[in-house]
């Protein structure tokens, strides 16, 4: 007895400090993954029936047949605008419809014409538009090769791993109804394996009424050694090969204390992979919301399965190649092949399919203070006062689940957060320009005294269990129901619950946080919902990875609606899918106060950025456990340069507001946060850009230096936009870091010392606790607001300082974007967007949106030109008038131009006196009406 007890204890203990792997499936424990992965390459039973080929202007259809069971599939092939190809494969005549993911694509992707180039009994060759791109469709076995010129960009089913489990009747039940039919079916049927009609994991059984329905397809990427994306995994930026281990898994799960550097599934899933080499970047978007596994292998042997037809284009046997295989449990095959060729092209291509990053309110890019939980109203006020007292800026304070009345979302704890006080408090907060976030999770307490529950139940909006009753599971409130967010009516109703008159205690400055939306079901299989739960016509199995996406969609819609469509929403989500970028921010879930978790925050957010989700952050300080003050400071310094900047902590950890670690650490944290606030104009402009183009805000270096192979696997440093390079200190007790400054012939300026460094070098930088190694690219212009105040809103009218970092060619370019910071009025052309460029010793400003109008009280008070030589004079040219400018020449390399805010300083001095005859016009007092002003040096 004693040894057993000990063993049990050991398991228990390890379970409390690290992920309990036994709670989550391996590929072997997931019947379809095991089944599919057992298939061997090179034995594809699929043949294209070329006689069924139909080609319209925009679409090619072709039947495929599985020679083993004679089941026919229908292949659809589209050439999409913007250099993409879409491949769709479904059963020709499925027993019942198979799930096709709705709502993720922002529109039916516009197509381009294709034409038939040649055809024989072995296959057909199609032209993909003008760029000498062709698709070769081989018939036996079926495969696709996408080529540009003589180069194969990507091959599909080249390893013959296409597998499409057709829907079928269950044999035992079939036999009862129709022995004859049974006989017929039985003959053509493959052998029945375990786990096809039901499956058990731990104590949970999955009834699988539809039987096997998995789909799988392989892709070969010749010349590719680096693939990225398919978040969310706590792994390196460069994806690893999965031979000999489990595939990367995409299945939204609430993983308690997740482990690092492995392919286990986490909270969100974006089935998008990028492939990159020095010549080209491509992408694969596997649009399937069921449980998905992705195998990656890198080999040269894969080439042997290439068809004869292609032999002549193959290079030497040393050509590297990456093979990728996607396996999903149900649905159809719907793949978008994004052909680049540049990284930015892939971003734009993917954005044209699923939309771009939501443009957040400016304040959401500032600092967020969170904790599970601030005990009560007084506690929140004390924390607010702490920031004020220690002069640390912040914009948002967050309330976790304890603020509710017994975990009933949309309500407030009557004792700790009485609603009358909440109104007073939020009003006070609006006076001091602060905002608040309250959590609203999708699990709804089953309680007949709870309005939200009663409404959802009476309207039939809950997800059903396999027997038709409301699905119930355990979560924070105890027994809970899960609203069916896939139902548009449900989403509309949910959105209406955020109206000010519905959501008691809510005001304009209260925003929302959706946690636990994988969904998390404490007593469900793998801590989530049973796959045989029912959403209308579909099983949960079909759309699991979409649930969190819909929760955030409905919530964001609610926040838009409550303001009559005027105000931008801000919603943070933990679970996500392709397209989630349209609805707000994500964070990397329940991390831990460990140095490795700080390090992993970089590749985790970089991976998300690559697949469109720019607004990403990790809990600063680490959620579980207690950070040392050194780790906490380093985490603030890192977080200040990542898109979503929020400190958060577990209920059981000691308090860690920034001022609790002695004056020195308080000062270090203050400085990190202030650097963030000074850079907010740049962050805001990048998010505007991300909103317009889908380009990531936080980028791996290879995105901007696609030919520099040294950068391809780099994930301890990153770029913000294209102009700032950040190498956070993530080592305990670090004395120095080695930053790689890319770009041959380029220069980089240390943003703190303005020291110039050459590109294309590994630069050793000694560091102290105050160091945050950040470099500005020579050739860029970055706007800052260096009058850092208590919150971003307080800084709204403050002047800008432009940092002009000259390239070796003495040129620089940058932008300035200004709007009201919180409404959708930018859609009504109410903004300022200017290009700033420095060339031939002239800094000029060009209006990028001449038809836009916006008036701001901000001005430019200072321009620093880094890497310049001393000018004899500087003149300001505005409206045809030439005026001499004040300038200083500093450290033999910096020109500082000064523009006191003459407009009002002359008038507003305390006592009346005539200022000397400085008659300049206030040339920048109204940025919105800038004409083509010039500074001439």
């Amino acid at each position: 007895m004693a040894p057993v007890l000990l063993l049990w204890l050991a398991v228990c203990l390890s379970g409390t400090w690290a992920v309990d792997r036994g709670n989550f499936k391996t590929c072997d424990q997931s019947a379809f993954c095991k089944r599919q992965r057992a298939l061997k390459p090179g034995q594809s039973p699929y043949r294209a029936l070329l006689e069924t080929l139909e080609l319209t202007n925009t679409r090619l259809t072709l039947q495929l047949i599985n020679d083993n069971n004679k089941v026919r599939l229908l292949l659809e092939l589209y050439r999409l605008q913007g250099n993409m190809t879409r491949v769709k494969i479904n059963e020709l005549k499925p027993l019942k419809p198979r799930y096709e993911v709705p709502d993720v694509l922002i529109q039916e992707p516009p197509t381009e014409p294709m034409s038939l180039l040649s055809q024989d009994e072995n296959g057909v060759v199609l032209s993909l538009g003008a760029e000498s791109q062709r698709v070769i469709v081989s018939a036996r076995p079926f495969r696709l090769d996408i080529m540009e010129g003589r180069e194969v960009l990507m091959s599909v089913n080249s390893r013959g791993l296409l597998a499409f489990e057709h829907l079928r009747m269950r044999k035992d039940t079939l036999f009862h109804c129709s022995p004859v039919l049974y006989q017929a079916v039985n003959e053509e049927e493959e052998k029945v394996e375990d786990g096809m009609w039901e499956e058990t994991f731990k104590s949970h059984s999955d009834s699988k009424p539809n039987g096997p329905s998995a789909v799988s397809l392989d892709f070969s990427l010749p010349g590719v050694e680096h693939v990225y994306g398919i978040p969310e995994h706590a792994d390196t930026l460069k994806l690893k090969t999965t031979d000999g281990g489990d595939p990367y898994r995409l299945y939204n799960l609430d993983v308690f204390q997740y482990e690092l550097y492995n392919p286990m599934a986490l909270y969100g899933a974006v089935p998008v992979m990028l492939a990159h080499n020095a010549q080209r970047t491509t992408g694969i978007f596997w649009l399937n919301a069921a449980e998905t596994w992705v195998d990656i292998s890198s080999n040269t042997a894969g080439k042997t399965v290439f068809g004869k037809m292609l032999d002549y284009v193959q290079g030497s046997s040393e050509t590297p190649q990456t093979d990728v295989r996607w396996i999903s449990e149900s649905g159809i095959i719907d793949v978008f092949v994004m052909l680049g060729p540049k990284p930015q092209d892939v971003f734009s291509q993917y954005a044209s399919l699923t939309g771009t990053q939501a443009f957040p309110p400016l304040s959401a890019l500032a600092y967020h203070q969170c904790r599970w939980n601030y005990n009560d109203q007084e506690d929140v006020q004390a924390v607010d006062a702490g920031f004020d007292q220690h002069d640390i800026p912040y914009d948002f304070i967050w309330l976790d689940i304890e603020h509710t009345d017994g975990k009933r979302y949309f309500t407030w704890d009557p004792h700790n957060y009485p609603t009358p006080l909440i109104y007073i408090f939020l009003t006070f907060f609006s006076f001091i320009h602060q905002q608040m976030v309250a959590i609203v999770d999708p699990h709804i307490k089953v309680d007949s005294n709870y309005k939200i529950h009663n409404e959802i139940r009476s309207r039939g909006y809950y997800i059903k269990n396999k027997d038709g009753g409301d699905y119930e599971g355990w979560c924070w409130p105890g027994n809970a129901g899960y609203p069916d967010f896939t139902n548009p009516e449900m989403r509309a109703w949910w959105a209406s619950m955020f109206a000010y008159d519905q959501y008691e205690g809510s005001m304009e400055n209260l925003y929302t946080w959706n946690d636990m939306n994988e969904p998390s079901v404490f007593n469900g299989p793998e801590v989530t919902m049973h796959k045989d739960a029912v959403h209308g016509a579909w099983e949960h199995r079909d759309l699991h990875n979409l649930y969190g996406f819909y929760v955030q969609m409905a919530t964001a819609e609610g926040l838009v609606q409550r303001s009559g469509g005027v105000e931008r929403p801000f919603v943070l989500t933990r679970a996500f899918f392709a397209g989630s970028q349209r609805y707000g921010a994500v964070w990397t879930g329940d991390n831990a106060a460990e140095w490795d978790h700080l390090k992993i925050s970089i590749p985790m957010c970089l991976s998300l950025g690559l697949v469109g989700v720019s607004f990403c952050g990790a809990d600063v300080g680490g959620f579980f456990k207690t950070p040392s003050s050194e780790l906490l400071v380093r985490w603030y310094q890192t977080g200040a340069y990542q898109p979503f900047f929020r400190a958060h902590a577990h209920l059981d950890t000691p308090r860690r507001e920034p001022w609790l670690f002695g004056p020195e650490n308080t000062a270090l944290i203050r400085e990190a946060v202030r650097q963030r606030y000074a850079l907010l104009p740049y962050w805001y402009q990048l998010f505007y850009h991300a909103y317009r183009t889908g380009h990531p805000v936080m980028r791996p270096l290879w995105v901007e230096y696609p030919q520099d192979t040294a950068t391809f696997a780099m994930d301890d440093q990153f770029l913000i936009g294209e102009d700032l390079l950040v190498h956070p200190v993530t080592e305990e007790g670090a004395r120095g870091i080695t930053a790689y400054l890319p770009g041959k012939g380029e220069v980089w300026f240390d943003v703190h010392t303005f020291q110039k460094h050459n590109g294309a070098q590994n630069l050793y930088v000694p560091v102290t606790m105050s160091s945050i190694p950040v470099y500005q690219r020579g050739g860029s212009i970055i706007p800052r607001k260096i009058r850092v105040r208590r919150s971003s809103t307080c800084m709204e009218h403050d002047p800008y300082t432009l940092y002009v970092a000259l390239s070796p060619q003495r040129t620089a370019e940058g932008e300035l974007y200004i709007d009201d910071g919180h409404t959708f009025n930018f859609n009504k052309k109410e903004f300022i967007h200017r290009r700033l460029s420095f060339a031939n010793n002239v800094l000029s400003s060009i209006n990028l949106a001449p038809d836009a109008q916006f008036s701001t009280q901000s001005w430019i008070e200072r321009i620093l030109i880094l890497g310049a030589s001393k000018p004899s004079k500087v003149t300001l040219k505005t409206a045809g008038e030439c005026l001499k400018c004040f300038f200083m020449f500093l450290y033999g390399k910096i020109i500082m131009l000064m523009f006191p805010n003459l407009d009002w300083s002359r008038h507003k001095r305390l006592y009346k006196r005539q200022t000397q005859a400085r008659r300049q016009e206030n040339w920048l007092s109204h940025c919105g009406t800038w004409r083509r002003e010039r500074l001439r040096t």
């Binding site: 005990n375 320009h433 059981d652 000691p654 308090r655 208590r790 008070e861 305390l910």
Partner: protein, 530 residues
Amino acid sequence: MFCAYLLLLLGVGVSAVEVQRPRGVPLSKRQFYEENKPFTCLDGSRTIPFDRVNDDYCDCQDGSDEPGTAACPNGSFHCTNAGFRSAFIPSSRVNDGICDCCDTTDEYNSGATCQNTCRELGRKERESLQKMAEIAKEGFLLKQQLIHEAKRGLEEKQAKLEELQTSKKGMEEKVEALRTVKEAAEQPEKEAKERHLKAWEEQKALIRMEKDKAKMAEVFLELDEDADGFITVAELLSHSELDPDSDGSLTETEVQGLLGGADKVDTVAFETVWGNIKEKYISKTQADTPAPVETPQEEVREPVPDNDSEQYPEDDIPEEEEEEEEEEEDDDDPDEEDDKIPPTMRTQEKKEDDEGTMPPYDQETQNLIDAAQKARDEFDEAERALREVDDQIKSLEKEISFDYGPSAEFAYLYSQCYELSTSEYIYRLCPFNRVSQKPKYGGSETSLGTWGTWAGPEANVYSVMKYEHGTGCWQGPNRSTTVKLTCGKETIVTSTSEPSRCEYLMEFTTPAVCQEPPSLDPTLHEHEEL
């Protein structure tokens, strides 16, 4: 804009007493901002034309050229706050839309509508200061008293301690002396007792032998059925219990063997036979009556242990029972002993009954015993007294060892407890001992820490107490409590909170921290610049 300008001018006109100086400059620094003279940054780093002071552009690294604007990141703005305390605020709070200075001067261009609240604040502050001063005054008086009492108490305790230590010395000597006496008296006692016991043992052996002889004679008569003075083989044959090989039958040969090979034995020869058979022999007349069973042991078990558990069935025992004060446990002990005594005594009595009573000691021995007992009692008494004194000394030393503050003003808190009842819990602070929390509606008490140390800031160490190593938290640290002391007339716990998981904060008022109030000069609180 122009109107605002006019208003500002009006404002200047109204406060005619205002000394002209740039916005945001305190009176004390006015001389550095002389109109029409070039301005030198206060750190001496630069000199600039005066019109660049407060031109909303930061020229000086120390921020001194922009005392009235938000231009310098490290500058500060001075609010006069007439009617209240003047203050410096960071420059970043000038014109940020939030009213910071009660005289509204920080928001002159932000559009924020601020109201001058200085007079109101000043009045409130004066009132509260006054109140606090009164409390401090009374508290301080109380504190003097406490110090006085503590001093006296301490002196008393010191004196007591010395006295105890002296008497301890005497008692130790006495104990040693009595030990010698005791040991001296015990030696002859021991010898006399041994003598007595030996005589008694000899006598007992004699008695046993005679009893045996009588029994033998009795058996002889019983066996000698034909009363011929011989016991024959036939007469013995009916006693099957005497079967030497225990095979169930007693044969004639075996009987003959028992009789030493003879066919019959007389009384003299029977002596040898008796020696062989007496262990097994069962008298025919007694065989039917059962042999007496060992009853005494069963009787012993009955009363003692069950008694307790029946009175307090396990379920009903409140858990606190275990944690209750030690004195209460002491109370329980004697009862248990009482219960235990009678049965032991009874057993002894029984044994004596069986074996017959030892004759009383002879007078001489008894005298020796009495003398030794007396010596023992005296020794025990002396030793107990010494232990008591020792305990007292230890407890006094412990009490004196605590740091009761610079004037021992906190000494009165020793061995006291203060409670605060909240909606859920009763919190209990026993200074220099422990802090605990007990749910109001059932449930066990939780230790929130035992006395650790004074933990105030260096300048004011005696303003905070720290209690540590309380009950452990799940996945967390051991509970601990920080007690903040503030001046008050009464000694009470005013609030408790748990700002961080398992780290408690308690507010505690006591006169012991009251500082001597400065003499109240009402004009001091009016603004200096008015």
